[in-house]
Amino acid sequence: MASIEERITALDELPSLSPAVTELLSVIGDEDVGADDLEAIIVRDTPLCGMVLRAASSARSGFSQPASSLREGVSRLGSQGILKIAITQEAGDVLGGAGIGYGLDPRANQDAYLGGAIAADLIARKTGLSDPNTCFTAALLRDIGKIAMDLVVGEEELEAVLKQEHEGRGQVEIERAAFGYDHAEAGAALAKRWGLPDRLVEAIRYHHEPPSLDVNGDGLIDVIHCADMICIWLGLGAGHDGLSYSLSERSRQVIGLERSSLEGYMVAVVQELSGTLSGLDDMRGELEA
């Protein structure tokens, strides 16, 4: 039986990230990257230029005067702010149509990837375990495997399997039994194909089943796993797979997730998601006007 990596390689058409976003992801956390380098990446992507300028001129982002140039926009937002804008927009384009076999529509997808990214960012800031921007990006991309599963397995076959009674089995177990791999493995294979950094590939691979040993020692995978579980509790992006996932006790302990902190995160995610969606709608409206 062909591996998931071989199956993805054999596909004729595969959604991909834009060159600008791939380049931005490759320089994430690189202290040697300056405003010149960022401007050189952004200037080649016209829609991204527009988004950077609008965000850097927006009262919602706290700016009272419009940015007069791309350089000024880059300086105002910083590398992490730019990456956040670019990856959020890119996720909409790439992930919007994903997960059809899982019973997801673009709205449910958007709630899931943005909700997870917001949850991961909140957890990282509260615990200080891992870089919040890396957590935001990893959580945003955690379910790209659902794109791959739609393409490799086929939406109808996938749906037929996922709609069966689970009988207490987890989603990951069901997918592995039916197809030989699950969507987290498929996501990691796709992330490698896209050339994403290894840490993002690992976070995508293990977001449902964190390993017993954190080899990187920064809790990134634990943050992404708990952020994903918060979305599952909230029903964000819940499709045919529903709530058929388990919380890792080790990750819960690493994050220090207790009843009060969990409920605090749930409330904060719903409130912040609502604000983010309004902001995105405003930005898309302005770009289309």
Binding site: L162, G170, W233, G237, S244, S246, L247, V267, Q271
Partner: protein, 150 residues
């Protein structure tokens, strides 16, 4: 929470996980409402900025708003869906179960009987209230079922 008066339209809440969707409908005045609450109650008193996120505050508010719009308690058809659980967890968060328990406690105290209920398990659900007929439907795993009338 959403409350409407009139014979047209539907109120929908998508993808209920451990949250609970609660519909009320008065067939005579066609007052209908839907509350989507996330948690049984606020963690600490005084932090309840969003009352409709919680059963403790959202449910009384939903009923009060319906009465103010002309609904009568004796005629209200009340249905609930959601309150699902994740497969297993090392801790005892039990959000779905605690949501169900709080809702039932409030209804028991207020003498409210559910006309239709689809709660628990591990499936996500979408709940729809039709304001013309009061019909309540649940969509889960791509299949739609009628919760009220049965």
């Amino acid at each position: 929470m959403k409350l409407c008066v009139g014979p047209e339209g539907r109120i929908i809440t998508h993808a209920l996980g451990s949250c609970i969707g609660l519909t009320i409908f008065d067939p005579e005045t066609q007052v209908g409402g839907l509350l989507h609450f996330m948690l049984p109650g606020p963690m600490r008193e005084g932090t309840n900025h969003k009352p409709f996120m919680y059963a403790m505050t959202g449910i009384p508010n939903l009923f009060k708003s319906a009465y103010a719009a002309g609904a009568s308690k004796g005629r209200l058809v009340v249905c609930a869906a959601g309150g699902a659980e994740i497969l297993k967890e090392g801790s005892s968060f039990d959000i779905g179960r605690r949501n169900r328990t709080m809702m039932r406690k409030l209804f028991w105290k207020s003498n409210v009987v559910l006309a239709g209920e689809d709660t628990g398990g591990s499936a996500a659900r979408t709940m729809t209230l039709c304001l013309q007929t009061g019909r309540v439907t649940i969509k889960s795993k791509g299949e739609e079922t009628m919760l009220w009338p049965r």
